[in-house]
Amino acid sequence: MSVAMLAAPAAPAAPAAATVVSVTAHLMGGRVGVHLRPGAVGSADAAWLEGARVLRRMRAWADRLTRFSDSSDLARLNAAGSSSARVRPTLAAVLEWSRRASQATGGIVDVTLLDARLAAEAGRAPGPGGADRSWEARPDRRGATIARRPGLRFDLDGVGKGWLADRAVALLDRHRAALVDADGDVAISLRHGETWRIGVAHPTDPGAVLATLELAGLAPNAAQRFGVATSGTSVHRWVRPTGVRHHLIDPRTERSAVTDVAQATVLAGSAAEAEAFAKAVVILGSEGALRLLDGPGLGGTLLLTERGEVLATPSLTRWLA
C-alpha cells in the first residue's frame, strides 16, 4: 500500500515567487507605477531599486514632454515663433510616433489640437477652424527639426504616456513579469507562463471594475509585450454655459467629440498603440470605430456606452478573466 500524496518542495521555494514589487509616484498629472515580479534573478530589494531607477528615467522623459512646464522641450517648441524648430531625441521620437498613430487611425489621433482643447476646457467658442495643422519632422542624429506654420502648438497628452510606458517596460524585460502603469496607460512584459490581471476601472464608480483582463505570456523564448489603455469622456469633462465639453477633440470638427462611447479600453501589442486606438474609438463612436477594430495588431476592445452598455469585441473574450 502506498500513501499517495502530492509531493511538495522540501527545498526553499523560489525566492519571492509570489512577490510583486511596486514603486509609484505622482507624475504627468497622475499616478505612475512600476510593478515587478522579480523571480529568482534578484531580490525584492534589488527590484525595488530598479523600479525606482526606472521611475526616475520616466520623470526625466516626462519633464521634456509636458506642456505644463515652460522649460520642457515641448513648451519651447510651442513657444518658438519661427516655422522651424529643433527638438531633442525624446520629443522627436514621440512626435514621430504620433505621426504613425495618426496614419493608423485615419487622422483621428492628432497632436495639433491644443488650442481646441483649451477652448473646450475654458468654455470658449473654438476658433474658426480650417487653419493649417500640417507639420513635418526632419530627423537627424541629434533629434529632429520640426517644420509647421508659426503658432501651431502641440499637445502630446496620452500619446506621450503610452510611449513612456512602453519605453520604461523595455528596460525591465529581464524580469519574469513587469508592468508600467503611466496613469492608466499600461505596458506589460510577461515571460512564458507568467500572467497578470488588469482591471478596467468603471469611470464613475470608484473601486468598481467593468471587466478584468488576464494576460498571459505565451511566447516560448522571449518576453511578450502587451499594452492596455483606456480613454473616455467622463474624467476631463466640463459643464459650461455653452454646454458639456470634454478633452477628446474630434479633428474633423475641432470640437469635443460627439460620441456614444463613454469609455473605451483597448488591448494591443504596446501601450502607445492601445492609447491611440482607445482615443480613436471614443471619438469615432461605437459604429464608426468598427473599421478600426478589425485592424491588425489589436487584441480586443471593451466599450462602455453612454447608455451604460458594456460591449466587448470577440477577440477580447479570450483575455477576459
Binding site: 500500500m1 500513501v3 500524496m5 509531493a7 518542495p9 522540501a10 510593478h35 492608466g184 478584468t212
Partner: protein, 117 residues
C-alpha cells in the same frame, strides 16, 4: 490368461474390521491464530487509512514507518509521497519533487482614463 505352470494364488480375504479414523491436528487453535492475525491486519490497515499521515499532524514522516512496523506482513506500507508543510524537511535520501508555484491572481493595476484622482 496365466502362463502355463504357474498357479496363481489368491490371498485369502481379510476379515472386515472397522476403519480407524486418521489422527489429525486440532484446527481450532490455528483458526484462532489466523483469526486474530486477520483482525490485527485489518486493524492496522484501518489505522493507516483513517489516521492522517504524519506530515499532516506536524510529526516527522518516520511515524508512518512506525505504523508499518506494527502491521502484519500482508499490510506492508511503502511511503512514496509525503506532503511537506512549510518548514518541514524531507527524510534523508527522499526524492523531492517541486510543485509549481501558482501565479498570484491578484489585480493590483487598473487601466483607467487619465487624470483620475
Amino acid at each position: 490368461m496365466e502362463p502355463p505352470g504357474i498357479d496363481r494364488q489368491l490371498a485369502p480375504p481379510r476379515p472386515a474390521t472397522p476403519r480407524r479414523p486418521v489422527a489429525r491436528p486440532d484446527a481450532r487453535p490455528m483458526r484462532a491464530i489466523l483469526g486474530f492475525t486477520g483482525i490485527a491486519a485489518a486493524s492496522a490497515i484501518a489505522t493507516a487509512i483513517v489516521r492522517p499521515p504524519a506530515a499532516y499532524l506536524g510529526q516527522p514522516a518516520a511515524v508512518i514507518a512506525g505504523v508499518a512496523d506494527q502491521a502484519a506482513a500482508p499490510a506492508r506500507h511503502v511511503t512514496r509521497y509525503v506532503q511537506l508543510l512549510p518548514g518541514q524537511t524531507a527524510p534523508p535520501n527522499a526524492a523531492v519533487q517541486a510543485v509549481p508555484q501558482p501565479t498570484p491572481r491578484v489585480v493590483i493595476v487598473t487601466t483607467h482614463q487619465s487624470g483620475v484622482p
